[in-house]
Subunit: 496 residues, 2 copies
């Protein structure tokens, strides 16, 4: 058999294993009962072990490293696949299988430990697991023998080509330009009223509006679905099975609306990827940052625009006639854009959001470098909240325990959230040159925007890098000035 | 490595593959979007292929056949495991892999052909597929080279140790004692009124009552959940992850209630199996018949008893005050026990249910022996309906096309439904000698019944055969007289 055919055959098997693990992940995250997880960890340990063997077998190594030496003979797509496959292989073959299996078990169990800790406001009960996770991650990185800072290795995993150098610059810009602007806004003396949002909005009614939004965003219902979970997320295996969740807080209706629009951004990206990438190494969205740029684009740039609510506020009024009786369209628009220093990242407004990320970035950097220890996290967290947002969490539930990511071993992931927001502004100004976004949103024709994004970004899946996409779509490299510009234009008008 | 350790190792792997396939099956049957299935079939094809290789590998054969020769040296549990493993191996290795794959394709395809035939009332369009299925099944049985009647081989697959000899006797008793009794009831001139049940009962409210039933039955919510599906079913991977579904017909409230109670019977069985069987070949419920005896026990013997509704009718009234305004407890009790000759098995009442099964048993027997051909089924079906129930289906949708089983190649399965009902009565009289069932049900202490069943039946999982359980729990072999006795006592009072 030719090496390329052999590569395709092994890849197909790897995909099948990844597929079943992903489907089970969906179940774990949306409905599996508590009791399921011990046995599940055991069973998935076996399957992950099988996958690990496929991903590290001598045969696969020979094929990938063999092809990597003949890149010039390969077509463009295969060349990219082999490069990517080699990059992953270089790391994974250095991890002993038993440690890999043990780590996966730890991660599965840590979900529950974290959930319990969050329920009982007990960081200490989670600390041991988190310490083990960090230890594993550092050990794995040391196995890679990559000549770079360990945190750079993690950053690159979630955003191809990004390192502390770029992120430091990005966050410096935020610190220099955004932090003072946020202070101006918070000290402007002007307050946008969103009191109405804490009225009682029954879950079933919120669900009705979330369901309406599915069609507004032109999501394909044959190829996906919406469900409920504590922490909203998007999930996919391929373009014809893309699912997302939202959550319903009966005294905070914005949560379900903006989580749904946000996730619909991720979901639309995945639904619009060309199926031809399914069986290749280049399937799925290209990076976390680009993914987040799509969700933030839908959530903030579209979903928090005046035009969006001009089109859809009547529907919301229809569903909540009593609760919104005294709320005008303008009141509502201002309400969804209210800026305030708040504790919980996922409920943060558009303007202060990236400051929450900055805190996590700085903490991760210190944690991976060994400058701080897991046990110190609650204190550091609270200190930074005071420094950047001027408020101090009353407990760890409002603080360091709020996010699932670290319990799942995802270090280096958070920065892509802020990066995605910044990308989205850069894409926005590029799109604006070609189509009349305001008019399209106001006339409820979002499929035209989907179409633009499909054409420029989505269809390519993982076949273009984030850096290539930025350059091709916007004509320049990543530049945080657009993000600052967008926020200042919008919130200047609203507050200053 | 010792053969037993090797056996355990391979078994553990098989279990992990079966586990992931089962979890994905749950997803397929409850929520996966239409678009998921093409890619899913491709991915699961790979995983099923891996499992098939594990189940038939030379290494596994050597271990199982090697141990089978040394049964005397093994402990009781391992001995049973090896016997069971050998029995399955004997069959599976004799089927050529290409025929196995072809048969699975045929089965997959036949689901859709059957669905379409049912939709369009066109048996002829399904006939060809069914003929091929029957042919395959007969061929596979011939490969097994088992010295027994082919239909006995099928019967034994679903109920260990059962053959035509036992079933013939069972159905003869029904014919002799039950058929005339049913005729008496139907000709009694007495009619129980259940008109109220076709009033409008909103789905959300029905869900509320189904949810209430979960606690009534003392189902462990940490180790399972209830969901919705078109066809109710119970699903499990191990005792701490047991799920079931019900369905909501807004103009037929009984459907959600009795489907929920029925499935809670299956689910309680699975939840109460001792975890020590998880990693053995003896996990899960022991047979289809014993399983059905538990669901039927909960659904009919408990769920349709006067005492049950004495305890729970107030709650139902609270949820449906308008719809049930003029319905007394006695009216309601009679309504849930209304007997009538009907066409569709799944909607049949407790008394006539097993006559529907008898028809299928007699037909399967003739079909496998070659006495009748597939093309004759509609006619034979209708003739037997007239003979046993006195009514003739107006078309094949009400007749031979109603059940999914044959299109899935499940011949020999139906008889276990009637058998389970009969088992449940035999267990009932044994239980009655030891605990006051009526009092327990009336005072809403069903966990005492669960406890009895756990102690006598559930905990053993697959480690005891149906025959052993019957003998140990009731002191005698299977005896259909208890079933007849139960039905005559109950329906005699209601009708005669």
């Amino acid at each position: 058999m030719e090496p390329i055919e052999k590569f395709r055959e092994i890849l197909m098997k790897q995909k099948a294993y990844e597929y079943v693990l992903r489907v089970i992940g969906w179940d774990s995250n949306t409905e599996a009962p508590r009791g399921a997880f011990t046995r599940r960890a055991e069973m998935l340990g076996v399957i992950s072990g099988e996958l690990f063997q496929l991903q590290t077998s001598k045969e696969y190594q020979e094929v990938v490293y063999g092809l990597a030496k003949r890149l010039d003979e390969l077509d463009e797509t295969t060349k990219r696949e082999i490069k990517k496959a080699k990059k992953n292989l270089d790391k994974i073959i250095k991890i002993p299988q038993d440690e890999f299996v043990e780590y996966n078990k730890l991660i599965n169990l840590s979900q529950i430990v974290w959930e319990d800790a969050k329920k009982t406001n007990d960081f200490k009960s989670f600390q041991g697991n988190l310490e083990k996770i960090v230890e594993f991650i550092k050990k794995f990185i040391s196995y890679y023998e990559i000549d770079d800072d360990p945190y750079n290795v993690l950053l690159d995993e979630y955003e191809d080509g990004m390192s502390m150098k770029e992120y430091d610059y990005f966050f410096e810009v935020l610190k220099k330009d955004l932090v003072p602007f946020v202070k101006d806004v918070l000290n402007s003396g002007k307050e946008l009223n969103d009191d109405f949002i804490t009225d009682f909005y029954p879950k079933e009614k919120q669900k009705e509006f979330a369901d309406y939004l599915i069609d507004v965003m032109d999501f394909n219902r044959d190829n996906g679905l919406m469900k409920e979970s504590v922490h909203p997320f998007t999930w996919n295996t391929h373009s014809t099975d893309v699912r997302f969740t939202t959550r319903y807080l009966e005294n905070f209706m914005f949560s379900s609306i903006f989580a749904a629009i946000h996730e619909l951004g991720h979901a639309t990206y995945e639904q619009q990827i060309a199926p031809k990438w399914d069986n290749t190494y280049l399937n799925g969205g290209t990076s976390m940052g680009i993914h987040e740029s799509q969700s933030r684009f839908y959530e903030n740039i579209i979903g928090r625009s005046k035009e969006f609510w001009e089109a859809h506020y009547p529907k919301l009024l229809e569903i909540f006639p009593t609760q919104l009786k005294n709320v005008s369209l303008d009141d509502f628009y201002k309400g969804v854009n209210k800026v305030e220093a708040s504790f919980v990242r996922v409920e943060a407004d558009e303007l202060t959001y990236s400051l929450h990320i900055m805190i996590r970035y700085e903490i991760e950097k210190m944690l991976i470098s060994g400058e701080v220890e897991v046990k110190d996290l609650p204190e550091i967290w609270n200190k930074k909240m005071v420094e950047y947002l001027g408020i101090k969490p009353k407990d760890d539930v409002e603080g360091v325990l709020q996010d699932v990511h670290w319990s799942a071993g995802m270090f280096g992931y958070f920065p892509t959230y802020a990066l995605g927001s910044a990308y989205s502004a850069q894409f926005y100004y590029a799109m604006k040159k070609e189509i009349d976004i305001n008019k399209i949103v106001k006339s409820n024709e979002i499929k035209k925007i989907n179409s633009w994004l499909k054409n420029k970004i989505h269809q390519y899946g993982g076949s273009k890098t984030p850096k290539e996409l930025l350059l091709e779509v916007t004509g320049e490299e990543f530049n945080p000035k657009y993000y600052i510009q967008f926020l200042k234009e919008k919130y200047g008008k609203l507050y200053l």
